[in-house]
Structures are given as structure tokens and as C-alpha cells.
């Protein structure tokens, strides 16, 4: 790893790479330094051959609360850079923006607000701590919100996404409701422990296959049903088996062989 990273902790633990927001005193908000180092943190974890799965979480009570507007207001160069990237829809914040090929689990440990929603909208899998909550205060500050909400709206029901977009800072979506809606697949007391356990399961699967599956499912969000399936069929046809073929349906399912 080519650390240190400003505002971030990047660690490896077995097959799991951790990208941890580390500005707990400001709700892990992204200042100019963190914004500058996020692409390198994602790239380093993606390139590390020992890392199979990346878990993204935050230190302290918050997960991620978006841009640190106070810091950026005093850093004209950084603000200009961010504005330029926004205009071009060329952000470098999330794993998806940075073309990460490995599976990414968002372990939402606490409040996730505004620009913090990028990291949920763009994760492959998301789980939440019981105290986690989701909101998008952009409109309460006179800012339009687009990328994060568009991403979230592709992941499930649209109405709840529109609602958090329009209620701004005056309402929060609870972890329990996020689970009901399928925005997260688990609500747990300890998001890190649950994420590690989940990551280790994924790490048992062959990494090249995992990469291709992830790529195809994201690609499918860009295409119509038939076009997406046609592309996936060709990929499947050209992918040789990377693991020994199971001998029976029971073995395929990881069940003990019958009889």
C-alpha cells in the first residue's frame, strides 16, 4: 500500500481490505485531502493481490456525511476541482467511480448523509448497524442532489429515494426501513464484525469469476434486459470453468451427497 492516506485508514486483514473513513470529529466528512486520496486508496486495495473483498466503513459514530463544506469553502483550488468533476459527472469518490473490480461491502456504522450516500449507492453489498440512518440534506442547503439518488433509485423502490431527496435534513430513513426496502441486506449490532464474516464467505469464491459477475451485473444497469443478457451469455460462453466441476446437484449446493 502506498500510504499514508489523509483522512482514511487503509488496512488488510486476511483476505479483507478495509477502507475506513477516519475524520470522526467531523462525521467523517470529506475534505480536500480525503477527496484527493480516495482514488489512491481504492486503487491500492484493488491492486493488492492479497485482498479479495473490500469493506468500507467509518470510525466514530458516523459513517460518512458528505463534503466538508466548511473546509472546502476555504480551499478554492480544491473546490474548483470538485466543481469541475461534478460538471463533467466525473467524480472519483466511490468504488464505482474508481472502477474497482473487487467486491465492495459498505458497512454503514452510523449516519450516512448527503455525499455519504455515494458509498451506499455504489457498493455491491450494504449492511447497516442498528443506529445507522440515511438522509440527504442537499436541498435544505440549496443544493441539488443527483448522482447519489440516481444510484439509489436503481437499487430498489424509487419513492423512498425521492422522499429522502425532497425532505432533505428534516427526515431520516432508519436502518430498519432500509432493510425492509432491500437497500441493505442486514441490520446488525456490529457492522464491522458482520462485514468481515460476509467478506470471508465471498473470499472463498474464485476471484476472477467474482470480478466477472460483478462487472456483468453493474453493466446490466446500463442496458435493456435483452441486451444485457446477450452480453452476459457471451461472457459466460467464453469463461472456462475456474474451479473443479461439482459431481452432483447436492455438491453444487454445498450439501452432503445424498445416499
Amino acid at each position: 500500500m502506498s500510504g499514508p492516506y489523509r483522512g482514511l485508514l487503509v488496512e488488510r486483514d486476511g483476505p479483507v481490505g478495509w477502507l475506513i473513513f477516519d475524520r470522526p470529529e467531523v462525521g467523517n466528512a470529506m475534505d480536500a485531502a480525503m477527496l484527493a486520496d480516495l482514488p489512491r486508496a481504492w486503487a491500492d486495495l484493488d491492486a493488492d493481490p492479497d485482498v479479495r473483498v473490500i469493506v468500507n466503513t467509518g470510525n466514530g459514530p458516523a459513517f460518512q456525511t458528505g463534503l466538508d463544506v466548511r473546509q472546502l469553502a476555504g480551499d478554492r483550488d480544491a473546490l474548483r476541482e470538485q466543481s469541475r468533476r461534478t460538471k463533467r459527472a466525473d467524480l472519483r469518490i466511490s468504488a464505482w467511480h474508481n472502477h474497482v473490480g473487487k467486491p465492495v461491502i459498505a458497512a454503514v456504522n452510523g449516519v450516512c448523509a448527503g455525499g455519504g450516500l455515494h458509498f451506499v449507492a455504489d457498493a455491491d453489498i450494504a449492511i447497516a448497524a442498528e443506529r445507522a440512518a440515511f438522509l440527504d440534506p442537499h436541498v435544505s442547503l440549496g443544493q441539488a442532489s443527483a448522482f447519489e439518488l440516481i444510484g439509489l433509485a436503481r437499487r430498489g423502490a424509487v419513492e423512498p429515494v425521492m422522499r429522502i431527496g425532497l425532505t432533505g435534513r428534516h427526515e431520516r430513513l432508519s436502518a430498519a426501513r432500509a432493510y425492509e426496502l432491500g437497500l441493505v441486506s442486514a441490520v446488525v449490532p456490529d457492522a464491522r464484525a458482520a462485514a468481515r464474516e460476509l467478506a470471508e464467505k465471498i473470499a472463498r469464491n474464485p476471484p476472477e469469476t467474482v470480478r466477472l459477475v460483478k462487472q456483468q451485473l453493474w453493466r446490466a444497469l446500463e442496458l435493456g434486459l435483452t441486451a444485457a443478457r446477450r452480453e452476459a451469455a457471451v461472457i459466460a460462453a467464453r469463461s472456462p470453468l475456474a474451479a473443479p466441476a461439482p459431481a452432483s446437484q447436492q455438491e453444487l449446493l454445498g450439501e452432503p451427497p445424498c445416499r
Binding site: 451485473l217 446490466a220 434486459l225
Partner: protein
């Protein structure tokens, strides 16, 4: 075609939904599937219970014919499919892959050409299709969940996507599911592979299935649901199906534009007079005989 009368006697206490009442032409006798009709409902059963209803090359070929046979039968208004035994469907038959000397090579050309014919969607079935998930649904089994119009399940059903755990990239089923339910759950199953299973309850919560039923009542529940659907105009339902599946192909505005064509396509159809008349006369409508529009030339 075999004579119905020559078929073996049924057991003394048959499941009522498996009792065929088809009196016209018998269906084809398949090796890996069972077809029968009860009232307006055509049943398609996966029938390889010893292999957890895995799809071997034979079933793959038979499915192509079975869907069309039911879709073309004028007495069938709704199709239900389910599995015999403890599994619903567990995808491609891995034992056959391991032993037939061909493996996945058998399917390579069809995949490259995207020339597939084993689901109702692939066969462009015009009638409503209900999947009744009676037990485990794994891997390729999701083809029939993603490609059905309506899905119900036994409370004991389970869902798992083991492809990635055996080094296979098969995303077509997951891509279908992505269009119909929350992304995260589909991605999680696809990446975790056989190391996790989703419960029927969670599948219900996420909207992958719309009804859970105790396992011994699943076929009755599917028959009952199918009979409700069968009370609606076949022509209107076929157009509705085309509009809704078509909407998965494109953006909102274009989907509405194409949907408008489907709405207009049934204007002037006799069912549009019959529906209100039957309602006013407090009787069941007598719908016009449905006509199957033959599939477009382009394969799915």
C-alpha cells in the same frame, strides 16, 4: 402419441391439482417434464426429482416444446410451473456436465449466439406464467423465477446462487432478477455464492415472490391464483405482458411510447364490449379465443 387410457392408474388419493382433466388432444409425453391441464390452467412440472430437477440437455430441449405446446393450447389461459420432489429447480445438471464428455461445450454455440429456448420469456409465451417455487431454487433455477410473470413460493423454499462458487459466470438469471427486485440482494447472492441461502420470507419481503404458502398447499394456491387470472381477458393480458416486459428493455419515456401501442392494439377487440356487458349482466365474461402471436424472428 400415447393413449391416455393406457397410462398407469393414478394413486388412490391424488393431489387434485395433478389430476388432469384434459379431454381433447393429449400433451406430448416428455421424459423430464410433466404437462397436464386442470380447468383453464396448464401445468408444467419439472420432473427429475432425483437430480433436484436439474436441467439436463434433454430437459433443455423438451422445455422449448413444452412452453409452446401450452401456449398454443386454446383451453389453457394461464400456465403454472413447479417442481416434483423437494427441489424447484437447481440449474444445469452438473453430473451430466462432468460425465458426458462435452461439459459446457455443448452449450457454447447457443450462448455465443444467445439462442436460448428454455424459459417462457425466451419462448415469448403470451399467456400469464406463474412459477410456484416448491423447494430449493439454485443457480440456473433463477431463470424460471426471473422469467415468470408471477412467483409464489412454499414457506420452506430457499434461494441460492452457487455459480460463482464453482467458477461459473452465468449472469443472465441475475440480470433478470435485477430488473424486478432490489439490486443489493441480487448482487449479494451472486457474490456470496453457495455460502448463503435466502429464505422464502426474505424473498417475499423483497418482492421476489408475492405469496408464501405452506408447502402442502402450494399447488392448490397456485391453481386458485391461476383461476383468478384466467377470469381476465386473454387479449388484454397478452398486451399488458408485452408492455411490462418491454418496459424492462428501455427508458421510461420510450417504454410509455411502446406501451401506448399495446393499449391501442386491443381497441375494437370484442373483449372490450364483452367485459362491460358481462359486468352489467352480472355474469362471467365469455372472452374471444386467444390467438398466439408467433415469436419474432430474433432469438432471446
Amino acid at each position: 402419441m400415447p393413449d391416455r387410457a393406457a397410462m398407469p392408474d393414478r394413486t388412490a388419493m391424488p393431489d387434485r391439482t395433478t389430476m388432469p382433466d384434459r379431454t381433447t388432444m393429449p400433451y406430448t409425453e416428455f421424459q423430464t417434464l410433466k404437462l397436464h391441464r386442470r380447468g383453464p390452467v396448464g401445468w408444467l412440472l419439472f420432473n427429475r426429482p432425483d437430480s433436484l430437477n436439474a436441467m439436463n440437455a434433454g430437459m433443455r430441449a423438451e422445455l422449448a416444446d413444452a412452453w409452446l405446446e401450452l401456449d398454443r393450447d386454446p383451453d389453457v389461459r394461464v400456465i403454472v410451473h413447479t417442481g416434483e420432489g423437494r427441489a424447484f429447480q437447481t440449474g444445469v445438471d452438473v453430473a451430466e456436465l462432468a460425465t458426458d464428455g462435452l461439459g459446457m461445450e455443448r452449450y457454447r454455440a447457443d450462448l455465443e449466439a444467445y439462442d436460448l429456448h428454455f424459459t417462457a420469456w425466451q419462448q415469448q409465451v403470451s399467456k400469464p406464467v406463474i412459477a410456484a417455487v416448491n423447494g430449493i431454487c439454485a443457480g440456473g433455477g433463477f431463470h424460471w423465477v426471473s422469467d415468470a410473470d408471477v412467483v409464489i413460493a412454499a414457506t420452506t423454499a430457499e434461494f441460492t446462487e452457487p455459480h460463482v462458487s464453482v467458477g461459473q459466470v452465468v449472469a443472465m438469471e441475475s440480470i433478470g432478477l435485477l430488473r424486478k427486485m432490489p439490486f443489493e440482494a441480487v448482487m449479494r447472492m451472486a457474490l456470496v455464492g453457495r455460502h448463503e441461502r435466502m429464505s422464502a420470507q426474505r424473498a417475499y419481503e423483497l418482492g421476489m415472490v408475492s405469496q408464501l404458502v405452506p408447502p402442502d398447499q402450494l399447488r392448490d394456491a397456485a391453481q386458485e391464483l391461476a383461476e383468478k387470472i384466467a377470469r381476465n381477458s386473454p387479449a388484454a393480458m397478452a398486451a399488458t405482458k408485452r408492455a411490462l416486459w418491454g418496459a424492462l428493455e428501455t427508458g421510461l419515456t420510450e417504454a410509455c411510447r411502446q406501451g401506448a401501442r399495446e393499449v391501442v392494439s386491443v381497441w375494437g377487440h370484442p373483449d372490450q364490449d364483452e367485459g362491460p356487458r358481462a359486468f352489467a349482466e352480472k355474469r362471467e365474461p365469455r372472452w374471444a379465443e386467444p390467438e398466439r402471436a408467433e415469436p419474432e424472428a430474433s432469438p432471446r
